[in-house]
């Protein structure tokens, strides 16, 4: 099986650890991972911001770059959600999207794995990001993966399904409202008592992690892959 990593522009440029960890987990499970160097951005940012022409160009480009692979795996529920929902209607390859997987879906669904052979000492709370939850419907896969990690204590997150307030350009255009949403999310993360907050989306983690660091919180923000690679 030819598997490509779609690392996303955001993880490539700002949070490379989530990409590296994704490679580690997949290779540990015997998957031969390729990284098509031509990849850049799927165009979600542009579509959601209202720039359809740019989104169309990037969707076609995405389809060309990943055309020959049996599976495309990504550490971003949001970007995969975009590819699955919009690629075909933006005029790109209609057969590709169903071969594009968010990491937890690929592990639990395609590979049928729950225990990936990692260890982690400490308590973790899981934030189901909006697009993993309501666009991709990843369900409880991430929590099952976390639950199978020896040493990891999964702490429930109050009001888990509330948005963290990121929303791409929303966090810039409506920064104050976004900040108020983040404040609630961080209060709930604190209430969970966990030492780390985990999600399947580097973009939301950029937001939550940025809020934690600004408040000098000892709570770490970790991508699911980073825990599974440990």
């Amino acid at each position: 099986m030819r598997v490509a990593l779609f690392v996303t522009c955001l993880a490539d440029t700002l949070l490379p650890e989530s990409g590296k960890a994704t490679v580690t987990v997949l290779e540990r499970l015997g998957v031969d991972v390729d990284f098509p160097r031509e990849q850049t951005c799927c165009g979600q940012l542009h579509l959601n911001a209202g720039y359809v022409e740019e989104a169309r160009t990037l969707a076609r480009r995405f389809a060309e770059v990943f055309h020959g692979y049996d599976a495309v795996v990504s550490p971003s529920g949001s970007c995969v959600g975009h590819v699955r929902t919009h690629l075909a209607e933006l005029g790109a390859d209609a057969a590709l999207p169903e071969r594009v997987w968010e990491l937890s879906q690929f592990l639990t669904g395609e590979l049928g794995v729950v225990d990936v052979g990692s260890r982690f000492a400490g308590s973790v709370t899981y934030h189901p990001t909006c697009h993993s939850l309501r666009v991709l419907r990843v369900g409880d896969g991430p929590e099952r993966l976390l639950g199978a990690v020896p040493g990891l204590e999964l702490a429930p997150l109050p009001a888990a399904e509330e948005c963290c307030g990121f929303g791409g350009t929303f966090a810039v255009k409506n920064a104050a409202v976004s900040g108020a949403m983040l404040e609630e999310k961080l209060a709930n993360v604190a209430a969970s008592g966990a030492g780390a907050v985990c999600a399947c989306d580097a973009s939301c983690l950029l937001h939550i992690g940025g809020g934690l660091r600004r408040r000098r919180s000892p709570v770490r923000s970790l991508h699911l892959a980073e825990i599974l690679a440990a």
Binding site: R37, C130, G167, A175, A176, H207, G211, R213, R214
Partner: protein, 473 residues
């Protein structure tokens, strides 16, 4: 009030929202109210085994009516007139207001009682009535509270959701001349009841909105909790209903679906306390004259846009407001429209049209999708938000943001440009980055930087790591 509500917003959403965030009391009231109503909705929806089928049926029957609205409306007109009612067609707010004012004046009335006032708020009817020397009295308890306070409704269904009991007590003490009142809900409701009862008995004309109108039978329906609507629709001699044309449904049996979806989605009740359905007039029972004013007000334009059209399915349940994390923070006033929350953010720009596009509203969402999951008629609100954003971007210059995003589009379209941009960003960020994180934020990033840190481009991007690994391997 309603004038401000129907004109173009004087300030864009982000500005109004920032002000709203400073109102701790309103935010606390909102958080409490929306949390309660969400839990109630979730509980009663979970009871229904075929909820998803009901939603699908609701969407289908609304689409069916909207898909042949011209025929449905003509059938509705014929049915209403056969039953003794009079139908008026209004292209816009001005025409609708003129029709209503004339009916009230012909009846020789100087005051009217009102219920279900969303559509009349949309057209600014209260101002038009006042300008003609007619005093309108809102009879829905929450609408009355808002009217007495001189404010605008902040929620489709719970117009006074931003107010708590103590605030209402103080308002009633002052405006109803009842200094003795406590904040006991029963006492407050009783005070309103006494105030309204006199008006119901006096009023010769009532003005209502409508939840639905059935084309096949000419039946108009109002769904409510208090019974004040029924007072309005039965006591006065003349009843005027102002309804957006999209509220028409084709068949009587469609009510079976909608009357299950609506109360569970809106108030979280299995059944609403009062459902009033009337067809024209009947001798010796109820109003002697019935007028149905059918308002276009931008609806045919919205109908002509296949991507935006599903917004017209809306049955005004407000479930999307109650689950929206943005609405929950800001409340309805920040939207500066009668229709607030996620549905308002897609409906208001479509209805506003040439009256000035509330261009900031489609951006008032993180696209979290909670609204689409609860919509009883399955409106894909995030999809329409994105569609409306594209319309705004296509219609007006986005300034610096537009330049930046178009430029970024070109960068992403080429691997070499993209990799060069990564290296360039790393070089340029140097003075602004300490300990791997940006320490000052300029221009559009200032808002982000007010509350969050941001990592800089690291010494090694993912692709550089991959390439180093390949070389080493």
């Amino acid at each position: 009030m309603s004038q401000a509500a129907r004109s173009a917003p004087s300030e864009p959403f982000p500005v109004a929202a920032r002000a709203a965030l400073g109102d701790a009391q309103t935010r606390a009231n909102l958080a409490r109210a929306t949390t309660t109503i969400r839990a109630r909705r979730a509980a009663v929806v979970a009871e229904v085994d075929d909820w998803e089928e009901l939603r699908a049926a609701g969407a289908a029957l609304r689409d069916d009516a909207l898909g042949r609205l011209d025929d449905v409306l003509l059938e509705l007109e014929a049915s209403v007139e056969r039953a003794g009612g009079v139908v008026h067609w209004a292209r816009d707010a001005a025409e609708a207001n003129a029709v209503v004012v004339e009916i009230v004046q012909d009846a020789g009335a100087a005051e009217v009682v009102k219920v279900k006032s969303l559509t009349t708020d949309e057209i600014g009817l209260n101002d038009a009535l006042a300008a003609a020397g007619i005093s309108p009295l809102e009879t829905d308890l929450a609408e009355l509270i808002v009217q007495l306070a001189g404010e605008r409704p902040s929620h489709l269904l719970v117009p006074a959701i931003h107010k708590n009991r103590v605030e209402i007590r103080d308002l009633f003490r002052e405006r109803l001349g009842r200094p003795d009142l406590t904040d006991d809900p029963f006492e407050l409701a009783e005070a309103a009841r006494v105030h309204l009862r006199a008006a119901f008995l006096r009023a010769r004309v009532a003005i209502s909105g409508a939840n639905f109108a059935v084309a096949e039978t000419g039946t108009v329906g109002v769904v409510e909790s208090e019974g004040n609507g029924r007072m309005c629709t039965t006591l006065p001699e003349v009843l005027v209903t102002v309804m957006g044309i999209e509220k028409a449904i084709a068949r009587w049996r469609d009510l079976e679906v909608l009357l299950q979806l609506l109360p569970r989605s809106s108030t979280g009740e299995r059944m609403n306390p009062y459902t009033s359905l009337w067809s024209g007039v009947r001798a010796g029972d109820g109003p002697r004259a019935f007028h149905l004013v059918l308002l276009d007000g931008g609806r045919t334009r919205a109908l002509a846009d296949p991507e935006g059209r599903p917004a017209l399915r809306c049955i005004r349940c407000s479930a999307c407001l109650n689950v929206c994390p943005v609405y929950r923070q800001t409340g309805g006033h920040a939207y500066h429209t009668v229709y607030a929350g996620p549905i308002g953010a897609i409906l208001a720009p479509q209805l506003a049209g040439e009256r000035g596009q509330p261009g900031s509203l489609p951006f008032a969402s993180s696209l979290c999708g909670a609204c689409a999951d609860v919509c009883p008629v399955r409106i894909d609100i995030p999809r329409i938000l994105v569609h409306e954003r594209a319309k705004v971007v296509g219609a007006e210059s986005q300034g610096l943001e537009g330049l930046a995003l178009r430029r970024l589009g070109r960068v992403f379209a080429s691997r070499s440009r993209y990799e060069r941009a990564q290296r360039l960003a790393r070089a340029l960020q140097r003075p602004a980055v300490r300990d791997g994180h940006v320490r000052w934020f300029a221009g559009p990033l200032a808002g982000w930087g007010a509350e969050r840190d941001l990592p800089g481009v690291p010494p090694q991007t993912f692709r550089e790591w991959w390439e180093a690994r390949e070389r080493g391997a």
